[in-house]
Amino acid sequence: MSEQSTAVAGGEAGTAATTKEAADAQAPVKPKNNRAWFLVLPVVVSVAFTAVIPLMTVVNFSVQDVFSPDDRIFVGLEWFRSVARDPEVRAAFVRTLIFSAQVLLLEIPLGVALAVAMPRRGVWVSVALVLVALPLLIPWNVVGTIWQIFARPDIGLGGWAINNVLGLDFNYTLDSTDAWITVLIMDVWHWTPLVALLAYAGLRSIPQPYFQAAQIDGASAWAVFRHIQLPRLRGVLTIAILLRFMDSFMIYTEPFVVTGGGPGNATSFLSILLSKIAVGQFDLGPAGAFSLLYFLFVQILCYVFFTVLTRSGR
């Protein structure tokens, strides 16, 4: 593949948004046709089976004490009361929020910096894209396995280096702070590439004349970043922030593999606690109430995400 066509292919992802806007501007109103419902029907049916019926069942669980399908007592909102006041649940909620906040604070600046530093022309573009994207395509449990091994003081390079090169006492299986740091670094390792790729797509969609003008004015690299690149990244960064917030808020697999929620409750995030109650203890009622409160919170986030996405498209 020639250098030119690589660059064009690389730019495609970045300019898709612009072409969409252009297409929308050409024909602002789509034809109204309620028969389109027939095209959507398969999706509605399949998602109804996998989402609506289960959710209804969760609602039913949440108001009863279920011993078996034939032996159950209606308890009203009792499970909601006990779950909403459970110190363990509240602690997990706060823990998850703090984790999400830390994830954003680390990954967004790092991702943007990375995108700015990434090569934008030449054969190295593809190599860089592949290298950066690789962690994203690793199964989440394997991400856990990689760090489970890498951060161990006895067999992992990372853990070994911290103990023997830096001389710090580091063991994520015993110390809560170490476990938290391990999970956080793992998440940064895993997901910063996503922020970087989104920001990179945003950078590539900036029209060249902006840079030419800046070059004529003799603007410094920092000025170019601050006044040309950063403002133009607003759209993609909003998407990145919301995506990262929501996905880190439901994190399960990676910390489950590395720490199993421990030591103690140190890395017991909402999903880990919920699946412990649901599958581990099989407490249908509390798990149902917990699920619904969790789901409610995610719904709100989701609506914000959707509103931002559809409004920025206009």
Binding site: V59, N60, F61, R72, R81, R85, L293, Q299, Y303, R311
Partner: protein, 90 residues
């Protein structure tokens, strides 16, 4: 359907939601919704406001049960009030 462990109250809630959706669909057929801007500062049509209202009502209920022992009927009244305010002026 045995494993879905239905109860009368939850069945009524879902039947109510289904009726609400059907009602909105029929209403929308006879007088198509118009998007406008209310005190929420975003453009919403009545379907959006219904959704935001329901979610806000649920938040009120959840918050109520988490902090106070006062009657849930009172909470329900507050939640409905919030939903109506959002539905009409949101």
């Amino acid at each position: 359907m045995q494993w879905m462990v239905w109860t009368l109250p939850t069945a009524m809630v879902f039947a109510g939601l289904a009726l609400l959706l059907a009602g909105m669909a029929i209403w929308g057929h006879f007088s198509p919704p118009v998007a406008r801007r209310g005190f929420l500062r975003i453009e919403t049509d009545r379907g959006d406001r219904l959704y935001i209202g329901l979610i806000s009502a649920a938040v009120v209920l959840a918050g109520w049960i988490a902090v106070t022992d006062l009657s849930m009927w009172l909470a329900l009244a507050c939640a409905l009030a919030v939903a109506i305010v959002i539905g009409v002026w949101g």
